[in-house]
Symmetry: C2
Subunit: 362 residues, 2 copies
């Protein structure tokens, strides 16, 4: 839909297709070069249309973070899906139903879940064991061979179930402050996974290691021992990835177009229609410890530009954003103008904007 | 819909109708006692069904925060609506269209907007001047009589436009740490509005003062000079209101039911299916400076209970919540159980759950 940006009336998420395609091309090239399976995480866009752009790059395997997302992409003809969230046994019937239609992988992360899964699944499903490689959020600790062995034994009782390997998410890279910190976390986490693999590979020669975060997948050049990557955010990137050092600002492929509804010259601020229900309340801290809820870009008919001096959303409420602006910008802006906002966390912004205003592909 | 809570499969927002009705009754009684117009803000629930519960209390005038919300409630037979957001001139055609169907009030907060409004509106609309009574987010400063006079003059050029009065939101009460701080902010802000009213009331004897935040509306007992209140959050309340001192925990009328997907005894934590796309990333800080993303309640067949010792969500990502639990609770919980979460900010949680899982009225 080639709509003129200037006709936008309320907050609308602009998606720059060229940038998205470049981001997909970058990651598929990288996966090819390092002989990795690329199983992109579709929770970032949750869109059938954007999903289709991946098909042109030969992508057939995808990752999602919920059963409902798996159902949505199954309806949109995806046939090989990993639900990268520790199995929720309350949804086992829905999972079993899905498994009739697609090649499905789930995550097991405890004996209790393994037991329920093994006793109740009637259709063919593969599973990864979810490994905590140092992040400390979810999964079995990478050193806990005893627990892992028990899970494999329990699951082996049901012939419908296949053991696929170990899956981890190095989510601690999101707290890194630069490229070096990302790579340090990556190498430490990878080391744990490789030890684990080498212990179990004797009995399970086909097991694979699947990892996933966008910072590592983007920045690392050493994937030795890794079989699959599942980054999601890279399709859009965002301000957080920029602050981590995982992307330049020009790679961010989404911007929220927001009407300027008021101008406060005395405090060098604008009020925009665009708030927490559009961008989320995710923030990053600048060097002075001030919260940043998004970075301003200027809009033209069908694209956006980075400003010479950065300007940020400094405060946000349900529908309002407060933008701190420079003197020159203040002089040029009028009530009723549109400005763009590069979101802090594009996954959350896209999730909100699917419902609260919609996407506009430019 | 009287569904058994225990059949829930994925994050679902439980709405305790009895508590909601009690909260509505409290606020309508209070408004009656103080001879105030109650024009509740419907952005908190955004639900036609919950909106209808207000009708039994004689409510006919409502507040919304966007044109799309005004359109939604117009379709649901509401006839008197204030759009409490500084006029977005890009939506003026939609506003004009709405004004044919309902009694509509909008907010004007600058000469620029007043000019556009006055020159372009063809149907009957009233306006409030949006006043900044100390919060510092949006509106004309209460002391700026010159600007206010100019706005009134500009708007008076168009006979379709009626001047209704002054509207303010004391949003700084949300940053208060106790009842005393709320009341101090309230009194200071109210004083500014009363001075303003007394200056303009000679020329506009029917002008009204409209204020709105839930902490002030709940805690104040002195509404002298105020004509209308527009609280919204009180319908559900939430953990933030509890921390401010505006409600007890038993008045919070919503809880997110979440499946427990993993248990980590070694770190006394649970992993729940329930994250930022359900609760939002809004947080409050405890006395030690730790972030709290929600408080745990236990669920039974059709309700929830506050636990003896409080337990909180300490970390949240897109779909995951990490809950820190006490030893006793840890012993009693199993994978696949459901627990409840009192949200930090019910407006944002309800906005997300309209789409990402749905409401369940219990």
């Amino acid at each position: 839909m080639k709509m003129n940006i200037n006709t936008i009336k309320h907050p609308t998420l602009l998606i720059d297709k060229e940038k998205v395609i470049r981001n997909i091309a970058f990651m598929t090239d990288k996966a090819k070069k390092h002989k990795l399976i690329l199983r992109p995480h579709f929770k970032t866009h949750q869109s059938a249309e954007i999903g289709n752009w991946f098909r042109d790059f030969g992508i057939e395997q995808i990752t999602v973070s919920s059963v409902s997302m798996a159902q949505y992409f199954t309806k949109n003809a995806w046939k090989d899906i990993t639900i990268a969230f520790p199995l929720n046994i309350r949804e086992l019937e829905d999972i079993s139903e899905l498994a009739k239609q697609v090649k499905l992988n789930v995550l097991i992360s405890s004996e209790a879940t393994a037991k329920y899964f093994s006793e109740n699944i009637n259709n063919s499903v593969s599973y990864f064991i979810k490994i905590d490689a140092g992040y400390g959020r979810a999964g079995v600790k990478a050193e806990n061979f005893t627990e892992i062995t028990k899970i494999v034994q329990i699951c082996s009782r049901n012939k419908n179930i296949g053991f696929k390997g170990f899956l981890a998410h190095f989510g601690n890279t999101y707290h890194a402050k630069n490229k070096e910190e990302v790579l340090k976390i990556y190498q430490m986490s990878k080391k744990r996974l490789i030890s684990l693999k080498s212990h179990f590979v004797k009995d399970f020669p086909n097991l694979i290691l699947s990892i996933g975060d966008t910072p590592s997948s983007t920045l690392s050049t050493d994937f030795k021992g890794i079989d699959e990557i599942r980054p999601g955010n890279f399709v859009f990137y965002d301000l957080m990835q920029h602050f981590i050092g995982a992307c330049t600002l020009d790679k961010i492929a989404v911007a929220l177009a927001c009407p300027v509804t008021d101008i406060y010259p005395e405090r060098s601020e604008l009020l925009i229609y665009g708030g927490a229900v559009h961008l989320s309340k995710e923030y990053i801290l600048d060097k002075q410890g001030n919260k940043i809820f998004g970075q301003i870009v200027t809009l033209n008919k069908n694209s956006w530009q980075i400003t010479d001096k950065p300007m940020y959303i400094s405060n946000i409420s349900q529908e309002h954003g407060i933008v701190s602006v420079h003197h020159d910008f203040l002089k040029s802006v009028k009530t009723g103008d549109l400005i763009g906002v590069l979101p802090v966390h594009s996954c959350l912004t896209a999730d909100l904007m699917r419902q609260n205003g919609g996407f506009l592909i430019v």
